[in-house]
Amino acid sequence: MNPRFMRFCVVGAGIALLCAAAIASGGAAAILQYRKEMVHLSQQHIMLVLYSGGPAIVAGVLLGIALTRRSLRRFCEPVMQVLNIVTAIPTLAIIALAMMALGVGKPPALVALFLHALLPIVRNTVEGLRQLPPAELECARGMGMTPSQTLMLVELPEALPIIAQGVRVALVINVGVAPLAFLVGGGGLGDLIFSGIDLFEPAMMLAGAIPTAALAVTLDFLLSRLTRLLVSPGIRNDDATVAQL
């Protein structure tokens, strides 16, 4: 099946499920009574994702590039293992640990989300750069390109679709993990979700859950569009990964 069609089906099914839940919980009116909070908290939520995801993209891509350079290549596996372990620690535990050092509020949540986003970005950057055909690199060298020119003009553009996949995965997961920030006073849509659970108000829960899901889907869509724009036309259609975008 066409992957794009499949994604369409999954998103459709998800939205249908949420609508069903919304009707069961007393309808849209019950949910919309929280619209003031929904707007306010969605803004906080987006800030949490951007302020943790932005630095994670910068740090993750730089780290990925560094780890594939000839001189640092031997550190690649150990560093990836460390990142794997960090990601395996439950986010809630990282938030709690960060809270010990940074107090309550947004900082511990941002640190935890940053660490959570790092692994997919670094891994995809490394994999994207590694899978380049050696012939292309040789070709670049043969044309007299310096290492930095090779990186900027050949390696990164070639690896971009895969790096972008990693960024998408990282940010979309971040949208879903960010509700935990509420527990340490970091705000965000977790406020409505957790209050809804505590107060047994399904409408309140959905008032937090639906915008969270919508944010994730929208962000995924926007990032896929952005990737299509950025990927060089020359390689847009010669790679299975790109075809999925």
């Binding site: 306010h40 309550v104 505590d198 107060l199 047994f200």
Partner: protein, 299 residues
């Protein structure tokens, strides 16, 4: 006799033992509790007391007030410790001014109709309150909730730490704002998990925060509870609450729980809470020590 026969005999006798044990097996009692220290601790104390008296306790804590009540109504839990003011204002939306005794009688008769029994209460009044660091309260001259309201009315930015429940409950922040006639701006309401508000207060990340008056950290963190000068908060008398069906099946249960509730008052409860939150002792050891010291279980 070869080994196989020996093994077979062992299996048989084990099965027979299991059957006998099953016949006199202990009655399982599900003990529910909310998420904060006092609730987890009292659920642990109750579980240990039940276990020592031939019951099989099954402890489930960490719920919010509404979820706990739902679980009690639907029979998913059998016993919990609830506060009179909490049940009146949240289950029955009754915010009348009652004395502790009136409040207890009121909720007892309301819930009796639903097959939920309020046993003899403790002398613990664990009220909501708004706390501040003593130093800060002195410096700003904020001694009562009215003073705090005046600060908000003069547009001071004062972040207040609250949990999800308090920010929404009729006997929480919405009620406080209505009765005292002030509004806390949305971005000054810092919501977080309940236990954290004390840390946030101590570390100066919020100016004031919701507290519960029997929390052990009020003394050790040098906090003051602002005077509720309009008598907004009701009395929250902690009481063992059991489903009638369970009480009828287990006649021993009511006297057992009442033997515990009679030993508890606000001061005792605050000391027990402090043992967990301040002295960092485990719930299990604090519970066991208390029960032994009160002669409720044999050491």
């Amino acid at each position: 006799m070869n080994y196989r026969i020996l093994a077979f005999r062992n299996v048989l006798s084990a099965a027979a033992l299991a059957l006998v044990a099953g016949a006199v097996s202990a009655q399982t009692v599900v003990v529910g509790g909310k998420g904060f220290t006092e609730q987890q601790l009292i659920a642990e104390i109750t579980s240990q007391l039940l276990a020592a008296n031939g019951f099989k306790p099954d402890k489930r804590v960490g719920m919010g007030t509404a979820v706990l009540r739902q679980a009690l109504d639907s029979g998913q839990i059998d016993v919990c410790w609830e506060y009179t003011g909490t049940a009146l204002s949240n289950v029955y939306k009754d915010t009348e001014k009652y004395t502790p005794e009136q409040g207890y009688e009121k909720i007892r008769s309301l819930d009796a109709a639903k097959g939920i029994v309020w046993l003899k209460p403790t002398r613990v009044n664990n009220s909501y309150g708004i706390g501040m660091l003593r130093a800060k309260s002195d410096k700003l001259g904020i001694k009562s909730i009215s003073d705090l309201g005046n600060a908000y009315k003069s547009n001071k930015t004062m972040p207040i730490g609250v949990n999800a429940e308090f920010s929404q409950r009729p006997d929480g922040l919405p009620g406080v704002q209505k009765v005292y006639g002030f509004t806390v701006p949305l971005d000054s309401i810092i919501k977080m998990d309940f236990g954290l508000s004390f840390q946030a207060l101590r570390d100066g990340q919020v100016e004031s925060a919701m507290v519960t008056t029997t929390d052990g950290r009020i003394i050790s963190f040098n906090l003051v509870v602002l005077t509720d000068d309009k008598n907004f908060f009701p009395f929250y008398v902690m009481t063992p609450v059991v489903r009638k069906e369970v009480l009828d099946k287990n006649p021993k249960l009511a006297p057992l729980l009442e033997s515990l509730s009679s030993k508890l008052d606000s001061e005792t409860m605050q000391k027990l809470n402090a043992a967990v939150d301040v002295d960092k002792k485990s719930m299990e050891s604090v519970a066991a020590e208390f029960l032994k010291q009160q002669g409720l279980i044999k050491g």
